[in-house]
């Protein structure tokens, strides 16, 4: 028999600020995250608000050894642990398991530029590259680049040392992190887990990756829904979202409040083609047990035609629901929209603003998933 899995703590940061309340307020007001320009590329981006790192990452030495994506993740993880009442429970934190959805870390953009410039006229390009990487790369930068080193830093900073796993694979990684965590707790393979993701969009290498495929919206800003006619695309946003998930019994036994219930997560892989996104959304909906949510959070990226298909399917499946676009609220957080949706959904449910919330997450190139969060009782 499956055990019920509840959310007992959440943490979130983005361009809308810090904490769930700031995000609920922005959602209610229909406020789009502020848009800025990434400084190396000039591309549009939704920057994260300035944060007082000391509040969640007390040691300056830890802050120095992390790059922004790791600091963001550690910060939001700290908020979630605090909300779940776990900050001062080292024994439980040492048993807690962790799943992080992540890509890779930042590069040294000045070094990249210098090397590319030098390579142009280098007599021996291979030797030139070796020489400059050896002398110009900061040795510890590697530890800010490895995908699993957000999890590693959460272990160091917050003492979450049960064990960690890092899932990669863009949008679907965030969905699968929630899916596997929920399934493990429901099956009794774990009692309590920290799950989440972070993303730093204020870096030109990520713009480059997505511009290569023509997925970046590098035009005057328009909301997610209004981009399809001009070819579609996404604007990346910086932020992070983490949740503490536990079995209902475990939460009860330690007197933690269940803020919401997390249903089994739906995730599918389809070959993209005309109509495939609509079909995948319908499939996920069925896997969720054809819910009747009062709110749908769509993580639609703005990429055409996936966004149009997703919105059409959602309008048909949940005609009575209020539908919000996370891409406008926060920008596109690549691996993080699934966890971010779950955090906001938990906030809506805990505040009594909604009883049943579905987050729909359709990847820019692949992967479709859904997360359903409902009132705990």
């Amino acid at each position: 028999m499956r055990r019920r899995v509840v959310v007992t703590g959440t943490g979130i940061v983005s361009g809308q600020g810090e904490g769930v309340a700031a995000h609920l307020e922005a959602l209610a007001a229909g406020r789009t995250a502020p848009v800025g320009q990434e400084r190396h590329s000039g591309y549009p981006v939704h920057p994260v608000v300035p944060l007082e790192w000391d509040r969640q990452i007390p040691k300056k030495s830890d802050q120095r050894q992390m790059e922004p994506w790791q600091r963001l993740g550690c910060y939001a993880a700290g908020l979630a642990l605090e909300a779940a009442g776990l900050k001062d429970d080292p024994a439980l934190k040492a048993r807690m398991q962790l799943i992080v959805a992540a890509g890779g870390g930042e590069r040294d953009y000045e070094v990249d530029s210098q090397i590319l410039t030098g390579l142009r006229d280098a007599a021996s390009p291979g030797a030139y590259l070796n020489e400059h990487l050896m002398s110009d790369l900061r040795p510890t930068l590697f530890l800010a680049q490895l995908s699993n080193l957000l999890a590693g830093n959460i272990a160091i900073v917050h003492g979450i040392t049960g064990a960690s796993r890092t899932f990669m694979g863009e949008e679907q990684a965030g969905i699968d992190a929630l899916r596997i965590a929920e399934a493990r707790i429901a099956a009794g393979q774990a009692e309590i887990m920290l799950v989440g993701s972070s993303y730093n969009a204020e870096r030109p290498d990520v713009m480059l990756t997505y511009e290569l495929g023509g997925f970046y919206w590098n035009k005057p800003f328009r909301p997610v829904r209004d981009r399809a006619a001009e070819g579609g695309g996404f604007v990346l946003g910086s932020g992070a979202a983490f949740l503490v998930l536990e079995s209902e019994q475990h939460a009860e036994s330690r007197g933690a409040e269940a803020r919401a219930m997390l249903a089994p997560v739906a995730a599918v892989r389809t070959r993209r083609g005309p109509g495939s996104v609509e079909a995948a959304v319908e499939l996920c909906w069925r896997d969720l047990g054809t819910p009747s949510p009062d709110v749908v959070l769509s993580a639609a990226t703005g990429v055409a035609p996936a966004t149009t298909e997703e919105h059409a399917a959602l309008a048909r499946l949940a005609p009575a629901a209020r539908v919000y676009d996370l891409g406008d609220l926060m920008g596109h957080l690549m691996e993080a929209p699934g966890p971010a949706g779950a955090v906001i959904a938990t906030g809506l449910v805990a505040a009594g603003t909604a009883r049943d919330v579905v987050t729909s997450c359709v990847g820019h190139r692949r992967g479709e998933g859904m997360v359903r969060v409902a009132a705990a009782r």
Binding site: N130, L143, N148, T161, A163, A173, R184, P204
Partner: protein
């Protein structure tokens, strides 16, 4: 939990048979790097896989090709499903990828920039749409997507990293999914083709690599007193994990059993283990507890054994803490002495070799063991393979970021 198929690609060759022959002959797959110029590098050797063509030659394509070959072998051996229709989930450990220097250079050249090259120039080239294939190639989920498509695995494939224990974590995730009853079978793969200048230099700058370049085959010296770092390797290991009843019911040949998985995080430091070895000890104990075995049951240890001064010392300490005085006589050897450290793939590659060890009743050696380290008084199966009856193997994998994962593999179910 049965294993009904396994596949291997390493610098020693393609396929379990060739690899086993080379491993038990004590042959090294480590050689001078020919893939790119090594001028100015402190480390000029690696166990690259040079016999598998890849175009373009870059980490994601190499990783995909190795994984494909290993999985082809494993799935064919298991006889499960039909070609292109694997009745189970995919869990694959893949190296984190990013655009590499040849691609950056191509974008820089195409931009026609005559002054300093900046990211604005690269983006201008990208915006022409002429380099669209780079996008898909350098997404983190692409290798898994292509393998899921090729093998027809079910559901959303998981791409994962737990650094140098990734391959073991892929197997652990598969085992958990089968235990939950979500699937009867899982295709678990670890793959890594990331020996390129920047990856090598990153490890080199952390002083993690051996710099004893001459002769290359002697560079990896796990457990020896003169060990001075690991040697980067490439390859893939694939296992078909299957519910044992399901495997028996379809008359499959069972190659061995996965009895338990254990893990423990370490919050001490980004690259170093807790000095007391407690997380390693906890991971080993967790795996044995999961297998419902006691330390006395371990016949042989397939070591993480990277050949770094730190790892081998801590691994020996942890094993001795769990197994006690008996550890002095429990054989332990490091495949990495021959195939290098296959990084993301290592846990899966070494799990496959552990199963071959059980099936063949022969222990692959730790080669290059000329100078014993008095601090590590263990039977490392020095230099030559040895016959031994092995029922239970403990396979260790440890990684940067405090990752410790251990597997218990056995000849018989418990």
């Amino acid at each position: 939990m049965a294993v009904t198929g396994l596949g291997l690609v390493t610098s020693l060759g393609q396929g379990a048979e060739d690899n086993w022959a080379a491993l038990t002959a004590g042959r090294s797959g480590i050689h001078e790097i020919r893939r790119f110029p090594v001028d100015g590098l402190r480390t000029r050797v690696a166990a690259t896989v040079d016999f598998v063509p890849a175009e373009p030659l870059c980490a994601p394509v190499l990783s995909e090709r190795f994984a494909e070959l290993a999985a082809d072998e494993a799935v064919a051996q298991s006889g499960i499903g039909r070609p292109g229709d694997f009745p189970g989930a995919l869990f694959i450990a893949v190296p984190p990828v990013e655009l590499d220097w040849p691609q950056r250079r191509a974008l820089a050249e195409a931009s026609g920039a005559t002054e300093a090259v900046t990211y604005r120039d690269l983006l201008a080239s990208a915006a022409t749409g002429r380099f669209g294939e780079f996008h898909e190639l350098f997404l983190f989920g692409t290798v898994a997507e292509r393998l899921a498509e090729r093998f027809g695995t079910r559901g959303s494939p998981i791409s994962l990293s737990t650094a140098c224990s990734s391959g073991a974590t892929a197997i652990q995730l598969g085992a958990e999914a089968i235990r939950r009853g979500e699937t009867q079978a899982a295709l678990c793969i670890g793959t890594d083709g990331s020996v390129n200048p920047e990856s090598l230099i990153r490890f080199s700058l952390l002083s993690a690599l051996s710099t004893q370049n001459d002769p290359p085959e002697a560079a990896a010296k796990p457990f020896a007193k003169n060990r001075d770092g690991f040697v980067m390797g490439e390859g893939a290991g694939a296992l078909v994990l299957e519910n044992a009843d399901h495997a028996r019911a379809r008359g499959a040949t069972i190659l061995g059993y996965l009895l338990g998985c254990g893990e423990k995080g370490d919050g001490f430091h980004r690259t170093r283990s807790s000095p007391d070895g407690a997380p390693i000890v906890a991971a080993i104990r967790d795996a044995l507890a999961d297998a419902e075995l006691s330390p006395e049951d371990v016949d042989y240890v397939n070591a993480h054994g990277t050949g770094t001064p730190e790892n081998d010392k801590m691994e020996a300490l942890g094993l001795t803490a769990v197994i006690g005085e008996r550890m002095k006589s429990v054989p332990i050897s490091s495949n990495k002495s021959m195939i290098g450290h296959t990084l993301t793939a290592a846990g899966a590659v070494e799990a496959a070799i552990s199963l071959l060890t059980i099936r063949n009743g022969r222990l692959p050696p730790t080669i290059n063991y000329a100078v014993p380290d008095p601090a590590i008084p263990l039977d490392v199966v020095p230099n030559e393979a040895r016959d031994a009856s092995v029922s239970v193997v403990l396979s260790n994998s440890f990684g940067f970021g405090g990752q410790n994962t251990c597997l218990v593999l056995a000849a018989e179910p418990r």
